[in-house]
Amino acid sequence: MTMHFLLLFSRQGKLRLQKWFTPIPEREKKKIVRDMTTMVLGRKPRSCNFLHWKDLKIVYKKYASLYFCCGLDAEENELLALEVLHRYVELLDKYFGNVCELDIIFNFEKAYFILDEFLLGGEVQETSKQVVSRSIEASDMLQEVSERPCSR
């Protein structure tokens, strides 16, 4: 599932997470974010989850107040992309316990860490939920150990 980018944004278009898997200039990133939020937020409620933008397929899904939006190559399997997004949400949910947008706002760096245990270079690196969760837990433990005496 070669992803070019993954964005999370709210219903008002505020960015909550941005992961870029290809090198893109800063200005262009901002433009892409603007385009994605406009396009996705402008969709009618019961439309299908797939869009076309330039030569990419855009797959998006709304979870509560957050939109998860990713850009894929034209030959990718959109249905599987939905599964990938769903898996990420499940991982967040397992970590935060009934995850909501506020969790991701206040713990954005954790959201990134979890993502980095699930995807690497735009591809899925681990297909087992438990393995990912265990890695995150272990990393957090390591962080705690190394953090004494000062906390963030």
Partner: protein, 820 residues
Amino acid sequence: MPAPIRLRELIRTIRTARTQAEEREMIQKECAAIRSSFREEDNTYRCRNVAKLLYMHMLGYPAHFGQLECLKLIASQKFTDKRIGYLGAMLLLDERQDVHLLMTNCIKNDLNHSTQYVQGLALCTLGCMGSSEMCRDLAGEVEKLLKTSNSYLRKKAALCAVHVIRKVPELMEMFLPATKNLLSEKNHGVLHTSVVLLTEMCERSPDMLLHFRKVWLLVPQLVRILKNLIMSGYSPEHDVSGISDPFLQVRILRLLRILGRSDDDSSEAMNDILAQVATNTETSKNVGNAILYETVLTIMDIKSESGLRVLAINILGRFLLNNDKNIRYVALTSLLKTVQTDHNAVQRHRSTIVDCLKDLDVSIKRRAMELSFALVNGNNIRGMMKELLYFLDSCDPEFKADCASGVFLAAEKYAPSKRWHIDTIMRVLTTAGSYVRDDSVPNLIQLITNSVEMHAYTVQRLYKALLDDISQQPLVQVSSWCIGEYGDLLVSGQCEEEEPIQVTEDEVLDVLEGLLVSNLSTPVTRGYSLTAIMKLSTRFSSVNRIKKVVSIYGSSIDVELQQRAVEYNALFKKYDHMRPALLERMPIMEKTASNGPTEIMQTNGETEPSVPDTKHLPLVTQPANQANDLLDLLGGNDVMPVIQTTLPTKPASAGGELLDLLGDLSLSGGLAPAPSVPVSQPPFLLDGLSSQPLFNDTSAAIPPMTAYSKNGLKIEFTFERANPNPNIAVITIHATNTTEADMTEFVFQAAVPKTFQLQLLSPSSNIVPALNQGSVTQVIRVLNPQKQQLRMRVKLTYTHKGSPVQDLAEVNNFPPQSWQ
């Protein structure tokens, strides 16, 4: 210096800002604090500060001053620092900045770190944003990690290798040995990433692909792994809604697709497993359908047996009936891809596809429309067109242009009868008239001219449509043109196809005049209607009324309209004898290659069809200028400069003479305005010219002839055949002068009988030198579709020894080969 505020504290504070300005102020204040903290090289709080900076960066504020700090964090020994440091590097740095290279050493050290989570961070960062230089430097380390027994690191190393290969393809070879054993892993993470790595290698290198196929025997291995996945019982670690590791299944299917493409043996080896997956996968949830989708794509791409292909298309057919929009969309997209190769199989699902036209989702409607047009053929044209026209009526404006073009194309290809064709066009013009492409007007006019027996019916229907609605310009233009041409049929009530309507001449003129004054009409439309009114002067008896209208517009503000009116006026006043001939019925126009969109399948709905952007107004006859009469007689078009040298200076009488002169050869009536978009020009004039050399050796067999020889002037004709069209004879005249004085202002003119068409190109000069010292050459092209005996009347004018000379002659002695 107090401790910098914590990350969560900052986030909370910023969120309390009620305006953008307030937020900006808070951020600026905090940035200033962070900057001074960085300047003080504070190790303790660097991590906290960078984290805050990353938050502000996400809000859209600049954070580049934190880049070096990220590097310092990465170099730190604390895991927390590294975690944030690497995150910061991935967010703030990219390969465009030289700064990123400073990371290389740190990453190298961390790749060899004792803690796997640190190694993992380094691999992740390298695999996400490593530049080519970094990849080159660190590929060796990655390759080492590919061989470790630690599956946590192995899977990350595999994806890191994928990134390295993408950046530096030449390094692919070095990963080959390590990759070999990857598939024997039990760990799904490693398996998955290995399949990704193998896929990347196969896609990049056909040699690798062959190697994997033949030497490693990859296909049976993959088939076995896939089989185990499907057959094995419930595995809680990898289960998704009852399916075991769908991510891995899909990746394996994708790799099988690449391996089986254009290879019979591999394709055969995977037939069974594909059939098994296709029939056994649970379809109640999206995940099962994702696997089925990938299976279908694989089946269609490899050399599968026909039974399997039919199975695949049937799966797509079932998808079309699924409640889930996404699945319907995906089905339509896939069917669109396969409609060319498996046309009949897709046809079976035609009715379902047509139903999708009524779907509420815009993306689905578009796909369904494209697919429907691809499925139209001679057998289903009537039914399909009914559905598509209904769709055209009710669809969003963004679809109308494409749909209208598609309808025209399909109608042109498969129309079962002329009447049906015209009805269909009328339907499109009346429902989506403002959305049709510009060149459909001349195309339609041409179609109508060619359906001779339908003229009365067509003009009647168009007239009725005009009565209803004059806002849609293409419809109005076509209607005006037809009324101008066939108004007599309209008034005489001759229609056979349907109940003839009772219309008087005055009523018709009312309608046309109404178009002229309406502010719904564009200038182009006004032009059409004025010309139509003029043409009716030879078809109707109320000539006085027409004269009045024409003279009124002689002072119109619109220059185009004014010019027309003035010239038509002149036609009434001075050239009334020419009027009937000039305004005669148009001949049947040569059918040209369709200039419409051949490809309306567009994945991105925004693509524009190519429309000729010169929107020419219809060619106006200029009866006052008799030289142009000759132009028109000769089938002239405004592209080719015909006889530039002589003309506007000629007195009016000469023109009249020429016409009278050629009277019994009788003119082709082609002088009424013709839309001058190049499409409708007789093709032969442009074709041969652009693609073929004029002088073609292969037809040198036709002997030359002397066409004229008198008073020292000799004109010889030599012949060629223009290759693209054997009905065209290319004649070159050579004029020579045996007298001792030059013949200056030499002009050669010619006219041919009605069934021919003639084109004269520019002469080489207009002085025929004395004593055969040189010659004037000029090329004539004659279209002779009925292969009749070629005859020509020529007129020569020149000045010799100070006095003008004029002569007329008939040329009848053409060799038979020139016209047979």
